[in-house]
């Protein structure tokens, strides 16, 4: 088995190919520790200064650079939000914002560190691309596409092991459809894909066919794949580690409205609550987002429908 390429190795390889690539961090070095040595002066650690980092990234982009900037997802997207919106989004500069520990990945840090509104706020910026890779392999495969794009971008970072055996090459704005069965259409993104795949297995064993979609890119969204998933489904399920509002559930709702579709939709997400801080497996269980719990909640929804039929 080949050794998996790390994010840091992928970024260093890209930097070797592209003189325009510069790397910034707001003192979050866990996943880019080797880059100062590899990049020299093209690596800049500004300290715990997210606003200045994003503004500086805009300045670097004005000079023709493609800055890849790193911070904890919540501080990057919220503390520096106005700098992102005004200095990067408004002029549509190719600044790539990589948020560490997004979604449930902040584990036991508590609500201050929970980036579970990040998709909503980044998607609110016109022209901002939003990438949510399911695992490290998907992130590494997506990275050259993200850097090559001339649009501003936000990336939910993950170093998770493969969630599934991927079946489609990465393309910006294209979802990956992992199973095409008609019945329950399960749409998700990010590391929860692993839980979705677990749920799919449980449901299949119970005779419930699942059409499983890994969105990969939330902006631009893959409208065609969403419509294809929604149209024949008995039940549409959106599964995400995000507040109910502003993430995938909202994207599906917008798409359905546009296409005059009125499916039955079950949103499995964090609702309007911050999640209970704990280690990831315990968070998944507690929040009802572990694969087996997802399957149960889907079965409950199906049974509820039959009972009411």
């Amino acid at each position: 088995m080949r050794a998996r390429t790390t994010y840091e190795q992928a970024l260093a390889a890209l930097a070797a190919e592209r003189d325009d690539l510069v790397v910034l961090t707001a003192e979050n070095r866990a996943h880019v520790r080797g880059l100062p040595e590899a990049l020299g002066a093209r690596f800049v650690d500004v300290g715990i200064c997210e606003q200045t980092m994003v503004g500086a990234a805009a300045g670097l982009a004005l000079r023709g650079r493609t800055p890849v900037v790193h911070g904890l997802a919540t501080f990057l997207t919220l503390r520096a939000f106005e700098f992102i919106r005004t200095d990067v989004g408004l002029p549509r500069l190719p600044v790539k914002l990589v948020g560490f520990v997004p979604g449930l990945l902040s584990e036991a840090n508590g609500p201050t560190h929970q980036a579970i509104d990040d998709v909503a706020v980044m998607r609110a910026i016109p022209g901002m691309q939003v990438f949510c890779p399911a695992d490290l392999d998907e992130l590494v495969e997506a990275l050259p596409h993200i850097v090559a794009s001339r649009a501003p971008a936000y990336v939910r970072y993950t170093a998770a092991p493969p969630a599934v055996a991927h079946v489609e090459p990465f393309a910006i704005g294209k979802a990956e459809v992992l199973s095409h069965d008609e019945g329950v259409s399960l749409l998700t993104y990010g590391p929860l894909l692993r839980e979705a795949e677990g749920a799919r297995g449980v449901l299949a064993a119970r005779g419930v066919p699942v059409h499983l979609v890994n969105l990969r890119t939330l902006e631009p969204m893959d409208e065609e794949s969403i419509v294809d998933a929604v149209r024949p489904a008995e039940l549409v399920v959106t599964l995400e580690d995000h507040f109910h509002r502003g993430g995938l559930h909202t994207i599906v709702a917008e798409t359905c409205l546009k296409h005059h579709l009125a499916p039955r939709v079950l949103g499995l997400d964090l609702g309007t609550s911050f999640f209970r801080p704990a280690l990831l497996p315990d968070v998944l269980e507690h929040e009802g987002l572990a694969g087996a719990r997802v399957a149960e909640r889907i079965l409950d929804a199906l049974c509820h429908r039959e009972a009411n039929a």
């Binding site: 510069v22 002066a41 093209r42 800049v44 500004v46 300290g47 200064c49 606003q51 200045t52 980092m53 994003v54 503004g55 500086a56 990234a57 805009a58 300045g59 670097l60 982009a61 004005l62 000079r63 023709g64 650079r65 800055p67 106005e82 700098f83 005004t86 200095d87 408004l90 002029p91």
Partner: protein
Amino acid sequence: MNALPVPFPTAVTEDHRDLEALALRVREHCLRMAAGGGCFIGASLSCADLLVHLYSRVLNVRPETLDDPGRDYLLLSKGHDVPALYATLAERGFFPVGRLRNHLKTTDSIYWHPNCSVPGVEFHSGSLGHLLAVGIGIALDIRLRGGRNRVFVVLGDGELDEGSVWESCLVAAAQRLDNMVAVVDRNGLQANCRTEELVPLEPLPAKFRAFGWACRTVDGHAFADLDEAFAGLPGVSGRPTAIVARTVRGKGVPSLEDRADRWFASFTDFEVEALVRELHGGGPATLVSEGKVVR
């Protein structure tokens, strides 16, 4: 790309009549932009001499070199003093002076804060406390490429209330960006209040020095002082430089000078003509718009 020549140090004894005449024209344009919808006239008049001096004697940028990566950059961080920038750029040939008459028209992009589609405007602004950060990125890239050009960021003194300014001051010093110059238009007033009565900034030079910057204070309306200050850059090798320019809000038109209620103003055409006469040495203008000028 042809490298631009290194900017010249200016003799301090130089005659400044050309700059004084240019500054007078710039102020007149600013007053005319305060008609029919108005503009932030107070700050525009306080920084007019600074911008005239920078674009005439300091900045290594000309209309022909606007895309030259070797040019000096000026970023107007406070933004709302943009009439003075537009007037200076127009007078220096970056775009036709007649375009200033498009102020606030939907057919152009000349409004109350800078738009970078206007030739000479390097970046948009309006939200305070952003452009030191953007300037850091530009300065970092200039250094990466071995350039000798510089980045000037014009800040308002009220703008210094923003925490992001001081965050960027820390970072510019940490990165030893001695190709950066912050120019503070120290007119002593923010929107509605005197800075020292709301959130005191003094001792301001000591604050910049404590943050790792070289700093000097100058009379922001004395061209000879400005010659000397800008000829001595960087103030200290390896450090960014702050020039605190003491100015007067509304400078040049006594009816508007140093008044908290003359931040934003919209005047009638008749009042503007009276203010222009006052600018050129006439008596005080009678302002009937008195009661509706405060924002």
